[in-house]
């Protein structure tokens, strides 16, 4: 799909921009990945004996694949609500810099914070990747409407998939279930790598992958936080050190 040129009358009106955003969902392979991922999440929720409404609300209100997988699998394995909440909140820290990075692409000087609430809610790895790809081709005054369309489209895809996965769960083979669950780590690894612009990002990702299995041996309950802070800080330090050496 190609978006109309920036000065085209096709961009007149927020509704049209919303429509282009909605249509953009069909132009990305990440929609397919999202669809299959949420089939997996729906099936996982079913197998862990949560209700259909629970699965639907988790997709609409949490709107973050890894957080949902972690929530279902920790609660399902009998961990306490507090342990679950800690694991979920750690997986969600990434949303903070993601929102901070996405909003300047969308904001205009006159934009109020409340106009951006829904965009902050839609922000997750898929939307973040697609914003970098599509927004340069969208007139700035239409970007809020466009991202609302894009986010609604992606959420609709995920919602339909959650329901299908939930309904099909009993009939899914174990192999299919395994393939679907493997999709999340693969898709997250490659989409994060693709968006990594600085050495610090690549280093943080690589060190984080290697350090987690070591930190998991501590069995502290906050292993991901331990490996994440250590790996992230080392990556940041290397980045600063290189910057200083280049300046010198």
């Amino acid at each position: 799909m190609t978006l109309p040129p920036l000065d085209s009358p096709q961009w007149h009106g927020s509704l049209r921009a919303f429509g282009w955003g909605l249509r953009a969902t069909s132009a990305t392979i990440l929609s397919v990945v999202l669809f299959v991922t949420f089939i997996g999440i729906g099936a996982l929720a079913h197998d862990t004996h949560f209700s259909m409404l629970w699965a639907i609300l988790s997709t609409v209100l949490v709107w973050a694949g890894p957080a949902q997988i972690i929530l279902v699998s920790t609660l399902g394995s009998g961990q306490t609500i507090l342990q679950s909440a800690i694991a979920v909140t750690m997986s969600a820290i990434r949303l903070f810099p993601m929102v901070v990075a996405v909003l300047p692409l969308i904001r205009e000087p006159k934009t109020k914070r409340r106009h951006l609430v829904l965009i902050a809610h839609f922000t997750a790895v898929t939307l973040w990747v697609e914003c970098y790809r599509f927004l340069p081709h969208v007139p700035r005054e239409r970007r809020i409407a466009f991202v609302h369309g894009l986010g609604s489209g992606l959420m609709a895809v995920a919602l339909v998939a959650t329901i299908i996965g939930y309904l099909l769960a009993a009939n899914l083979s174990q192999t299919f279930g395994a393939a679907v669950l493997l999709l999340t780590p693969l898709a997250f690894l490659f989409s994060t790598l693709r968006n990594a612009k600085e050495l610090a990002d690549v280093l943080a990702l690589g060190l984080g992958l290697v350090l987690y299995p070591l930190a998991a041996k501590l069995n502290s309950g906050v292993d991901i936080l331990v490996s994440g802070v250590v790996a992230g800080t080392v990556a940041f330090a290397v980045h600063k050190w290189r910057e200083r050496r280049e300046a010198a």
């Binding site: 507090l82 800690i86 899914l172």
Partner: protein, 114 residues
Amino acid sequence: MSDFIGDWHALVVLLVAGVIPNQIWRLLGLWFGSGLDEGSDLLMWVKAVATAILAGVIAQIVVQPPGALASVPWELRYGAVAAGLAAFLATRRSIFAGVVCGEAVMLAGKWWLG
């Protein structure tokens, strides 16, 4: 209908353990984002830590797999991710090639093991 809704306790748990711990970070981004310079050191550090935590989440799903993924032996899970990474790099960063190759290796391996 009650099957559809399930028990209310579970929905409260969803809110307390799922929705709030997740949304708080988006709200913080919305609240403080406008005051932060995108190139500031603090944000660079937060980004690096967030990326490393995401890497930890990725590693956790592969190392301590949930649900049906636990039926795949670890050699095959690690091999599939490595093969996907190789395909991703060989195709000049195609997410599609990486995902398809990783999945193909896992499925082929599972079929071969029986």
